[in-house]
């Protein structure tokens, strides 16, 4: 009844339940935050090439080449239940083949304590902007947005789109040769 192991067992069980309850309360305090922040986006260079996609099926596909400006401050999102933000820059567009295309062009991990002010000028994309097919040439409605996935210490994993977007208009002509 009152042996050392049974005392240890109940101490362990009680510690665990207290920790679970505290974690849940911590999650409850932050569950209603909307995490939305304004983002300013712009593109400088916009080109489109038609080259074989050796990373995929080797078919000739449209490759968008852009450089972008981005500025935002994400400090207000951080609270005691935010461990990290995963930022990603998405290009969303429609082609004749696909009703919805989403391509991540750039991403960044912002951990708690990191610099939260982002001010990029003329930045290059981190990933290639390959279309699945040939839907970028002359496409005048490619929307660029910045979103983030909030990683908490414990809790839900909301995906939030920053307010503010930029519309890219791709040229009607392919660029050939080296740029």
């Amino acid at each position: 009844m009152n042996s050392f192991t049974s005392r240890l067992n109940s101490l362990f069980a009680f510690t665990l339940s207290v920790m679970a309850a505290l974690t849940f309360c911590c999650f409850l305090t932050t569950v209603f935050n909307d995490h939305i922040r304004p983002v300013e986006l712009n593109v400088a260079k916009v080109l489109v090439k038609n080259v074989p996609d050796y990373s995929a099926d080797r078919e000739r596909s449209d490759l968008g080449l852009i450089t972008f400006d981005l500025s935002t401050d994400l400090q207000p999102i951080f609270n005691w239940n935010v461990k990290q933000l995963f930022l990603y820059l998405t290009a969303e567009y429609k082609t004749s083949e696909h009703a919805l295309n989403q391509v991540v062009l750039w991403d960044k991990i912002v951990e708690r304590g990191d610099n939260t002010i982002l001010d990029l000028k003329n930045a290059h994309t981190k990933y290639y902007f390959w279309d699945f097919g040939n839907g970028l040439k002359g496409n005048s409605n490619v929307t660029l947005t910045l979103s983030w996935n909030v990683i908490p210490n414990a809790g839900t994993l909301p995906k939030v789109q920053g307010s503010g977007s930029h519309k890219i208009v791709f040229p009607d002509q392919y660029t050939s040769g080296r740029i």
């Binding site: 974690t23 009703a99 989403q102 991540v104 839900t156 994993l157």
Partner: protein, 179 residues
């Protein structure tokens, strides 16, 4: 306290008490099973809770963290989401983030994933010749996160002897301890 005290305990029980202990054990096993199957129905996922087994999503998820998944059919797959998917010829499902989405008018979707901590996308991990994932490959999408909660699974995976020791100990404990 001798190490074989529990055997005396069993010897002292009469038939009725022994049945009771066995039934009690059965109750624990069946309620665990009911909770698991119930969660499967509510979340729509064949595996509603997964433990992160690799460091490919660090610093968001570390080994031993717990993820809650849902997989409702009407929920669309979008970039930035963390999906758990299975690859033909691999037993262990992979937890990675969606990088590209191409969705047709009729809803068929092809997407590409990448681990936050990996420098390249997952095409090297997919089955030979596979370029995209489809909806049928998805086990679930990560909706909530709990750190460290799955660490016992990691220990059991890394040290199989530890797993049998734990199972044997728990089984004996339940069978021999009277209320």
């Amino acid at each position: 306290m001798g190490s074989f005290d529990f055997l005396d305990e069993v010897r002292r029980m009469n038939g009725r008490q022994l049945y009771y202990q066995v039934l009690n054990f059965g109750m624990i096993v069946s309620s665990a099973l009911m909770i698991w199957k119930g969660l499967m129905v509510v979340t729509g996922s064949e595996s509603p809770i997964v433990v992160v087994l690799s460091g490919s999503m660090e610093p968001a998820f570390h080994r031993g963290d717990l993820l809650l998944l849902t997989n409702h059919r009407e929920e669309p797959i979008r970039v930035g989401e963390i999906v758990v998917f299975k690859i033909e010829g691999r037993d262990i499902p992979i937890v990675h983030r969606v990088l590209k989405v191409h969705e047709k008018e009729n809803g068929t979707v092809r997407f590409l994933t990448k681990g936050d901590n990996n420098s390249v996308d997952d095409r090297g991990l997919y089955a030979k010749g596979q370029l995209w994932l489809e909806k049928k490959d998805v086990v679930g999408r990560a909706k909530a996160f709990l750190p460290y909660a799955g660490i016992v699974t990691i220990l059991m995976n890394d040290y199989p002897k530890f797993k049998y020791a734990i199972l044997a100990f728990l089984g004996l404990f339940v069978l021999t301890h009277r209320e």
